[in-house]
Every structure is written in structure tokens, then in C-alpha cells.
Amino acid sequence: MEHVAQHSDPHYDPEASKMGMWLFIFTELLLFGGLFIVYAVYRYLNPEAFQMAGHELNITIGAINTIILLVSSMTIAMSTSSLQKKNKGLTVLLLEITILLAVIFLINKYFEWGVKFDHGIWPGSEHLLNDLGKGEILFFGLYFVMTGLHALHIVVGLVIIIVALNKIQKGTVNADRPLLLENAGLYWHLVDLIWIFLFPLFYLIH
């Protein structure tokens, strides 16, 4: 009986797909890893400036976004369980919640960056270049690049989750072929993983 289900696509190889996804995740980890090393070196060279600049960031918004990402990681992890339990309705619901949380994260980010812009802080702004020191320029440069790159990953993750959700509704991703959802989950957890380090390094400097 199982052969019938597998026959529809002979190229389905879950082990290889998963390993491919992990190899991609490693490149992502090292991309952000490189940026973290740049951060570490500049913070080591400008400790006071980084502390001063860190006060500008809002811990509450950072903490709310942390919780949002952690909860969304849980809902997408749960959706892989519910797919395997052949509970399609719950899987779809959990993915919709994940998508909603990702959108809320981006909205928070929009307002957070908006406040910085209102304070005259953006890469290359006059206030940053004329009134603040080299260390602050480095801090805010890294802040915008790293949280911006992270937000870009949220957008990409959103697209992947929407594709997976679509295929689950069509039935091409199901309990026998769950790998697209699992890989979407892996990507989403990667985004969560990066934020776990971004949050203390930028928001919790005191």
C-alpha cells in the first residue's frame, strides 16, 4: 500500500533533502556568525560607546519580539507533529498562527525602526555622523544591518511557510511526505536562533 503513495514521485528522498537544508542552514549560521565576530571586535574596541548607544534601544519591544518569535517557533514545531498525526485542520491553524506572529514581529520592527528614524538615527544620517562618535556609528550600523538582515530572513521564512501551507491544503505535503513543512520549520527555527543572540547583544547592553 505504501508503494502506491511513494510511486507518485520517485525522487522523494527525505534524508537527503533534510541534509541539504542543514547544509544551507550552516551557510546562514556562518553568515550571521561573521557579523557577530565583527560586532564582538568593535564592541571590544569601543566598550563605552556601545553601552551608551545600547541605551537607545527599547528592551520592552525587543523582549516582546523575542517572545513572539519563540511562540511562533513552537507553533510551527507543533504543526509538524499534527501533520504526522494526520490532523490537517490543526496543522493549517498552527501555520496560520505562525504567519500571523511573523507579521506582528515585522510590524513591531517597523515601529521600532521608525522611532530610531524620528530620533535622526539611520545609517549615514546627519545626527549620527555629526553628533555621535565612531563607536556609536559602528553600533547603529551593525544594529541596522544585522536586524535588517534578520528581518529579511523573516520575510523569506514567511514566503516559505505560505508555500508549505498552500501545499498542505492541496494535499501534496502530507503525513507521508512532510519534508517541505519540516524544512520550512528548520528555516524558521534558524531565524529564531539568530534572534536569540541578537536580542541580548543589542538590547541588553548595560
Partner: protein, 94 residues
């Protein structure tokens, strides 16, 4: 064929992991509010490391996947720390 059979993680396990992650988030905020100097950075980083181990092990299913994946993740982490170590050797002794 055995590896293709997936271990289905019960929902409550994910809830426990989430609670642990949220608690550690607040603990890392708490530890940086206390003025411990350099130790508060260390504390926040230890919490972040424990959190990422939880995410890798449970959310990313490494606990249930083939051991090769765990080995590969460990290798990448070691590589990353080696690069940090060498970079800071350079900066300390300049």
C-alpha cells in the same frame, strides 16, 4: 526504512520547551539589570547558548535525527569558536 519513520513529538513537550525559553529570556533581562560588569554579558551569553541548545535539540529535532547531523552541527559550532578565538588572539596581542 527505520530512519524514515518519524518520531512524533507530543505537543506538551513543545510547550515545556517554550516555557523554558521564555523563562530564560526574562532571566537574561534580569541578569543584565543587575550591575555585574563584564559578568552580565557572560551571563546573557550563557542563557542564549542554553536557549539555542534547546531550540536545536527539540524544535529542530536533532535529538531524533540521524547522529551525523548532530556531528555536523557540532563541527560548525567548533569552527565558529575557532574563528572567534583566532580573531581575538590577533586583537589582544596587537
Amino acid at each position: 526504512m527505520e530512519t524514515e519513520k518519524h518520531h512524533i513529538v507530543p505537543y506538551r513537550v513543545y510547550v515545556y520547551i517554550l516555557i523554558a525559553l521564555v523563562v530564560m529570556t526574562f532571566m537574561s533581562i534580569g541578569i543584565t539589570k543587575i550591575n555585574l560588569g563584564a559578568y552580565s554579558v557572560l551571563g546573557a551569553m550563557i542563557f542564549a547558548t542554553v536557549k539555542s541548545v534547546l531550540v536545536l535539540t527539540w524544535f529542530m529535532h536533532l535529538k531524533f535525527d540521524q547522529p551525523l547531523l548532530r556531528f555536523m552541527v557540532g563541527f560548525v559550532v567548533l569552527l565558529f569558536f575557532a574563528v572567534i578565538f583566532i580573531t581575538f588572539l590577533d586583537y589582544y596581542f596587537r
